[in-house]
Assembly symmetry: D2
Homo-oligomer: 359 residues x 4
């Protein structure tokens, strides 16, 4: 359903072409500093960049209608609402008969029937992540009170893969410097070229967002099932277009020997650390004090302007379709702040569950 | 915590070296055929194979103490208990001071303090998956009443990767024919060699389990957050040693163009199908009628007999450790039935949520 | 927290004197007829009546910002927002030091600290029930598709107790005919007098709301814990000022013999019925096909204009307080529609859980 | 379903005449002192008393199969199992056709169909409260570490009503001194006589259990929905035969004026207290520092040996039935420890949620 989280609970609502999209964040302790500006700043980072993003021009002005008073949370649920402005629903009715490949149209029509709101993808739209980012701003502020920081970047876009070793501060320092959300000037240029090449051909590309969480306490996670990795993964798969999630060495682990994969414990300045971080900061579903390090694979944007084969559901026959409309040739740059926000919400939830915010 | 699922809810309890391990499965409709033998057969598939598995000899005899009557479920919770027999806890006390690399020892000691049951890994042991498999047998029977079938195999062990195209029936027919859970005779031999080579060196290897779900109705999944992929992923990360989960083309999607990744819809015998299955049977978090196809990456077994570097928590200094005991040089073959059971539990839960078992 | 329900999930947000109050209702199937007018009509029934209600004049105009399209639900979450207009927060700051007797001020200040929004009672205000009633309108429409109807009335106000035997249709026919929500003209006059007498003295009175649910299927409820009575009771205690809930003979049962209390089963027109309904339509936590019959006790409104003794939290000494502001001398008439809406939400949730809406 | 609680989660399983009954308690912090003896002592208090209780002789020996190590909790789930010994199922098959008045037989048969385990009431049996009491022993120990104590007594049995003013220590001191669980020697004699009189006539009586919780912190409860009173009420209605729950003045509140009902705040020894406790220790769903005081109404035992009217479900006609078997003429004395345990579980859960056990 449209609620996630245990102690910090996020509910999203709205649809791509309805009155707007919004969210309710429940469980945030009272007294956490947050202003409308702090929320807006994060939501703005999700906007499409000129050149490489969609032409749909949404102001995405966030209204906060509950839970804040004089720049602080009150302990009551916090509600965000973002009106939809630049909607053009005319082109979507056709998809009721001829579902778009790669989109939720077909299974959604089977699930909800003729009353499904298909305009702009309805409740399956990537637009639903805007109020998630708004809520994430609160989670970030909450985490900040305990020194926990989160930073993500585009680790791959199409065939451009950034394999450089990057520390947390390296990533955090370059956070959102480039429109592609690359971690360096050099990679940014290559990624931009990759997006534009696809765009020019009426096509799209996917990519990988890598995210690091720094400053976590040890022991975060609630086994056997509510593990740190499991909770993060579930949240990430809610982001449209995600097809894979891995931690630390991830799928590479499968080809490693135990003697190579096991991260040796070492004392560093009186603290227990591991020399390597193949585990991605997680052992047995619990944080181990090293940065949590995970990667999220995004498929190429499903909407492309090339003609595609699909079926006509009423005639029960094969046909072709050309999807018009305004789309991002690559969703990855806009997804970076979404991954960060999603991670912040999960981490804050688990810290609340673990008693890390109790006085 | 130790409960997962919404309409079909699994609770696990026990520890590796306590009286036993068990589970409670709640929410299964009345009248589903299930016998102690059906449960035992699945649990036996989790046992280590001679030669490539651990020497710990557990009978794993499942007692069913609630919820069954005359070979059918009654609608009451179903409880399973598996006594621990072959336990040797003597070697584990040392790990309270010197946590094993790659294991949960260190974060668990921080989280639970000195009362943590560290014997055999306690509640973090892979042994917790035995009662999960028992419960999975009920889920399989429930799914069977609607024609839903699940089959998994070792797609990779160490550097042996099985890249052959395999249909559902291809996999299902060879299910559990080989001790490595490979999908063909040829690959089985290579994988066995890979495990034995690591074992001989006192080392371990990881691998990938691929799982297919066939016969699913369209529209399974409860967006925005309780997606089919998200629920499966969360469950998979509860299985010890899992480091990555991907659906369909997964991480390969990141390098694909939209025109290549989008699966064209086609009519086949009056049914809507897709020509390819890069989506892994999931669009917008909902099943689309194609087989759900996902892969789970396992790290190499953390317990190896080679000397490893760790820290002495009391002296706060670096030290070395040699982990004795009886371990699997590769956990992947035993994990195959666990992945299947875990998937069955998630799928059955979502089908119950979606009203697919209502009369 | 601020979410309740399992398959039909209600989240409330807002506060008495903030921008507004609202709710999100998630899990309602697609295709249920509901219009803004239907919602507004229910919310209007919660308004104070001239003469016996508060002078706070709220328009309570409901905005629906998600989940409806062309007069039907889409399957996406439904969101309601009601702006606060007639707020006067000036008098509330004093209560931070001198909490009002009978109100949540004192425990809320301890719980949330200085950032608690105390204006108008904040998130503890009876005003939070307005968006609950809005959501209840959807639940009523959903229940209507299966012939389930709900009707409540003021069974007691102060010392005026309505002990007449009343059938479901008797109650439903007089629903909301009188400003006191009495079930007959005769009782209405007595109750109005009782309220005005208290009001004149600057005092308040309590009362009892009795609620009946008609047309329920047999077997509603999810034991052992999610019983029909337990779920209704939990929801009722969320309504401010509720101090007791009983089903059927309720507390009178305690003084009855089994031979007197047990309702004999009888066949009536081919249907299984009970001759009496001491059980209030519930056996073993399940509906038994008879009307669910329960009563909810409301304490007198805590806000009275008489001087009251309290403490000064900063000086840690006894003091007195006179609560100004605009208050209902009796909350019971306005609570009747709230009890109905709350019951509708619980019943609809349990019907969804029980598969009663599946095709 | 069969799980309740949020941070401290109880799952019950089993049935009256199956292999046994049991429970799993999840979420208890590590290091809480608890032994099998402490658990057994509580469970023994639930046994029928000679003379006034059932003749079914169950040893009720509790096995703890998970979660304890050396007299302390480990942080893993705690599991209890109580084997059924003295079962006689022969008389129950008849009730499939002719459901017993006052029992769950009829709605359960409709809900679960022919596979419902009707023997001894199956999962609807009062016997399910035995493992609840076992789990309650852990909650009591947990609460004890923070000075929270719980005591209940039979406030009424049939027409014998104990209206004496009783303080917490008054009740706690006499806890379980008398077989009727009366609070004084004088009342105990009257209550015993009342039970025996009903028993002699083949009939049964109901009663009221009053429960007090002492030493609670202020601010316990999670509004808007997870209130202290709402959570307690839901749990109480899970106990078989409960028909009403009220807090403080409860239903009497309905007839009071606000000036009479509002409890004045006063400073007592530097602490904020209220002079009276009509609120039953709860304001706005939050504990206010006064003892929580609630009453639970029990109907008379449904099983009586008098002939009763019922229906024959197969023939669809009226008939009569005489329920044989061994039954308690009054369940109230045995329910007292169940109410205490149930309250302990709810309170401990809310204290965990509120962060009151965090270091």
């Amino acid at each position: 359903m449209n609620t996630i989280g245990f102690a910090l609970r996020l509910t999203v609502f709205g649809s791509s072409h309805g009155p707007g999209v919004g969210s309710v964040l429940d469980g945030c302790p009272a007294g956490i500093p947050i202003t409308a500006e702090m929320v807006q700043r994060e939501v703005d980072l999700r906007k499409p960049a000129a050149g490489i993003g969609t032409a749909r021009a949404e102001e995405d002005l966030v209204q906060v209608q509950s839970g804040l008073l004089e720049g602080k949370t009150t302990g009551a649920p916090i509600q965000f609402f973002i009106a939809n402005k630049d909607t053009d629903s005319s082109k979507y009715q056709a998809f009721r008969a001829t579902p778009r490949p790669g989109h939720a149209d077909y299974p959604a029509l089977v699930k909800y029937g003729k009353d499904h709101d298909i305009r702009g993808g309805g409740q399956f739209s990537g637009r639903m992540t805007a109020p998630l980012v708004a809520a994430g701003a609160v989670a970030r502020s909450l985490l900040g009170t305990k020194g926990v920081r989160i930073a993500a970047y585009s680790q791959a876009i199409g065939k451009v893969v950034d394999d450089d070793v990057r520390s947390f501060s390296d990533i955090a320092d370059n956070r959102f410097k480039y429109s592609t959300r690359a971690a360096s000037h050099h990679v940014a240029a290559l990624m931009e070229k990759e997006v534009l090449a696809a765009s020019k051909e009426g096509d799209s590309v996917g990519g990988v967002v890598r995210c690091l969480v720094d400053g976590l306490p040890v022991g975060l996670g609630e086994p056997f099932f509510d593990t740190l990795d499991g909770e993060l993964a579930k949240m990430m798969f809610a982001i449209p277009a995600v097809k894979g999630v891995e931690f630390g060495a991830g799928f590479r682990s499968a080809r490693m020997r135990g003697s190579e994969h096991n991260d040796p414990f070492v004392m560093v300045g009186g603290e227990v650390r591991t020399e390597t971080n193949h585990a991605g900061g997680i052992l047995g579903g619990l944080s181990n004090g090293m940065p949590v390090d995970f990667s999220v694979a995004f498929k190429p944007t499903a909407s492309i302007s090339k003609e595609q084969r699909t079926v006509d559901l009423s005639k029960k026959e094969d046909t072709v379709i050309t999807v018009q409309g305004r789309h991002d040739p690559c969703i990855v740059p806009r997804a970076v702040v979404v991954v960060e926000a999603a991670a912040a919400l999960v981490i804050a939830d688990l810290m609340l569950r673990g008693g890390f915010f109790a006085n």
